[in-house]
Each structure stands twice: as C-alpha cells, then as structure tokens.
Amino acid sequence: MSSATDRLEFRSGAVRTLWFSVGVATLRAVVLPVATGVAALIAWEWAVWALHIPQVVLPSPSLVVHSVVANAGLLGAHLVPTAMVTVVGFVLAMLLGTAIGIAIAASRLARDMVYPCVLAFQFVPKIALAPLFIVWFGMGLESRFAFSAFISFFPIAVAMTSGLEATDRRTLALCRSLNATPRRVLLHVRIPFAIPFLFAGMKIAITMAVIGTVVGEFISSRSGLGYLILNAASRMQTDLILAAIVVLCAVGLVLYGLIEAADQITSRRFRG
C-alpha cells in the first residue's frame, strides 16, 4: 500500500518535473531568440554612438525607427504598388502553376515532354530575364505583374506535380479496384494528397514573388518600395533605405504568415 502511494507520489513528481521542463523549453525557445535580437539592436545602437559611425554609412536602429515614422506617408504610398504587384503575380503563378501541374499529372505524354523543361528552368537564373519583360510589356505595371508571376511560377508547378505523383500507391490501387474514373481519382484523392506539397511550394513562391517585384521595380518603376530604395541609395539617404527595407520585410513576413496560417488550417481540416 505504502509502495503504491510512493509510486503515485513519484509519478506525480515526475509529471510535475516534465511540465516544468516543457515550460522551461518553450520559455527558452522564445526568450533566447528575442534576447539575442534585442542585444544585437542595442549593440548596433551603441556601436554607432561610440564609434561615431556617420549616418550615411550606418544609421542607428532608433534613427531607422524614427525614419519609418517620419516617412510613414511616403512609405505607405510606395507600399501599395509593391504589395499589389506581389499578390497579383503570386495569384497568377498559382493559377498557372497548379494548372500545369494537373496537366502534367493527368497525361503521361505531357509529363515526359514538359516536366524535364520545367525542372531545367529551376536552375536558370530567371532574374536575368527581367529587362526582357520590360521590352515585351513596357515600363508599366503589366511587366512587373508578368515578371513576378514568372519568377514564382516554377516552385508551384514543381511542387504541384511532385505532390500529385506522390499519392499513396495502395490508395490508387484501391480506387482502381473500385472502378473509379481517373477524373474522380484526381479530384478526390490525388489533389487532396498534393495539398501539403502545394503549400511547401507556395511558401517558396511567395518569397520569390516579392523578389521578382523588387527587382522589377529596381529596373523599371517610378513607384514601389524597390524604386524608393534605389532612389534613396542614389541620394545617400541610408536611413530611408533601411526604413523601406523594414517595411518590405514586414510585407514579406505577413504574406508568408498568411500562407503558413492557411497551411495550418487546411491540414487541420483535412487530416484531423
């Protein structure tokens, strides 16, 4: 009897230590990175102040924050076209990429012909084609829409194709034995199986879409955060460059976060 209570005591103690260590581990995972980030910012601020680094070379974090606040209107005005081009380019890439992925998965001929070319394009430095898009589509928004879509298309097409190919063999065999039509197998089995792959591709594609938009703005635009950065660089306004970069990073992280959230929601919905 006493040994049983002892064991119970021991177990509840073990559970308590387990809880404690889980708490410490999560605390550590949150506190350590935040503390490093804050320490780095303080070191940066201190170094700029102590070493008398000129503002043009490296403005202090407080000055960058001040510049974000002081130029809020300007940054906001340039944020709108950048965010719009990124989102439109990404949506175009999504539509085209999933369509090509489904076409490749549905037809063996299409797969053997087109897929090696799509894979080879992964290694081509697509950024180099940006000036061509300006020749084709002009200096306006269209060229940046097209370029952003072009840059983010490939990860989505590759992810969709490999997702559709990775369907569980036994499930496919079951469908065949139930005489399911290829169309129904595609819609109800293969596409749902491909969704986690698609999200992995979308996460790469959204960062590529932002990069495509910024490079497009570097070389053609009269507006957008990329233009603002290059313009500020030519006038040596380093604090404005960093302020624009902060806003751009925020855009990138928010868009990535949205896709991550959608991924979590769909995976919870489809896979219990």
Binding site: P33, P131, F218, L230, I241
Partner: protein, 248 residues
C-alpha cells in the same frame, strides 16, 4: 529483375527523347513564327539570330561571362567556407542555436535582394560590393543546411562514440560531418542559384561590367538578340557551377 531494369531504361530513353523533341519543336516553332512576323522579331528574335549574335560578339560576351562567372564562383566559395563554419559553430551549442536559429529562418524569408543598394553605399560600385552581396545571398542556405545536418546525427551513434571515448573532433570528422553531408549539399544546391542571382542583381544596379550589365544595357537599346545571347551564356554558367559544386 532483368525486365524491371529494361523497363526502367526504356522509360529513361523515352523521357529523354520526348523532352528533347519538345524543346526542338519549341525552338523550331519560335524560329518560324519570328521569321514570319517581322514586327515581333525585335521583341523575340529568332534562335538563329541569337546564335548569330553569339558568334559575332563572342569576344565581348566571353569576356563579360568570365567576369560574371569568376565573381560568382569566388562569392560562392567564400559563402561555403563561412556558412559551413558558422553552421558547425552554432550546432555545437544548443543555447547559441536556440538563440540564432529563428533569426536565420526569418532571414531566409525576407527579400534580401532589397539590401543590394546598401552594399553599394557601403562598398562602392566595384567588385567588392558585388562579391559581398553574392556571399550574403548564398550564405544562409548553406549555414542552415549545415546546422540542420549536424543536428540530425542519430543519437545512438553519438552515444556509441561517447562510449568509446572518441575525442570531439574525431566524432565531428568521422561521424557528424558525414551524416550532415546530404543536408549540406541540399543547402549548396539552393546557394549556387542564389549566388548567381546575387551576382546578376549586383551587376544590374552597379552597371559597370558583367553579363547582367550587358543584359540591362542591351534591353534599354532594344537589342533583344544580345539580351538573349547573354541569357544563354548565363544559363551555361549556372549549369556549370551547379555541376562543379555538386559532384560529390
């Protein structure tokens, strides 16, 4: 077994023939369409004209390609050394990796391309700024690959090493590093592409030398055939670097 092998090699042949046929048909259609419609030929010159341009301007193009290829290769090499060293250093301390890993992941997500003009402010419009930017672009995938690889060494293998009282550096050289190699190489694959992208964007905005400069200059003069010629050479550089970097 034998039939399995035959079927597999037949499939490979089929795939090779079909994809080459597809590319061939594409190039042929492009050539015919560009020759028929002379108005569009400035926008998309026929492939024959592109190869013509490469043959005619090969001196200039090769000179610029050499500059781009060299800067990109040096940048990639420096990024490999720094990335593997930092990845290994971080992997050895759980506190340091817990503190730095989230920051490195965030750095993967943010558009680093936007920082290119800052490198010009710091290092001027010469080789230094392009090199530094190339290293910066290629560095993160390598460091993350190394870190992930070193962390995934199976715990029982490490336990065995500890039981045989192997010294730390031997465990690293003989066990942890080899186990990490697949992850490091997948980081290198991403990094090769990133290095070339960093180099080209650097050339776009410093506009002094290199294929990126040629592309931007030719596009502003509407010399699309020259743009395509430079892009062809860039693709060749990309494939070459990939092959050099990835032969185990």
């Amino acid at each position: 077994m034998m039939t399995d092998y035959v079927i597999r090699s037949q499939n490979a042949v089929r795939r090779g023939v079909l994809s080459i046929t597809f590319v061939g048909l594409l190039v042929l259609a492009w050539e015919v369409a560009a020759r028929r419609n002379t108005g569009a030929a400035t926008a998309i010159p026929p492939p024959s004209e592109i190869s013509d341009i490469i043959a005619r301007h090969h001196g200039l193009l090769l000179q610029q390609a050499a500059s781009t290829g060299l800067e990109c290769a040096v940048g990639f090499f420096v990024a490999v050394v720094c990335g593997i060293l930092l990845g290994a250093l971080i992997a050895y301390s759980t506190s340091v990796s817990a503190a730095l890993y989230p920051h490195m992941v965030v750095f993967q997500i943010i558009p680093k391309i936007a920082l290119a003009p800052l490198f010009i402010v710091w290092l001027g419009v010469g080789t230094q700024s392009r090199l530094a930017f190339t290293v910066f672009s290629a560095f993160f995938p390598i460091a993350i690959g190394t870190l992930t690889g070193l962390r995934t060494t199976p715990a029982n293998v490490i336990d065995l090493c500890r039981a045989t009282v192997a010294p730390h550096w031997r465990v690293f050289m003989a066990v942890r590093f080899p186990f990490a190699l697949p992850h490091i190489f997948s980081g290198l694959k991403v990094a090769v592409t990133m290095a070339l992208i960093g180099e080209i964007v650097g050339e776009f905005i410093t506009a002094q030398i290199g294929l990126g400069y040629i592309i931007k200059f030719a596009a502003s003069n509407m010399e699309t055939a020259l743009v395509f010629a430079a892009v062809v050479l860039l693709c060749a550089i990309g494939f070459q670097h990939r092959r050099l970097g990835l032969r185990h």
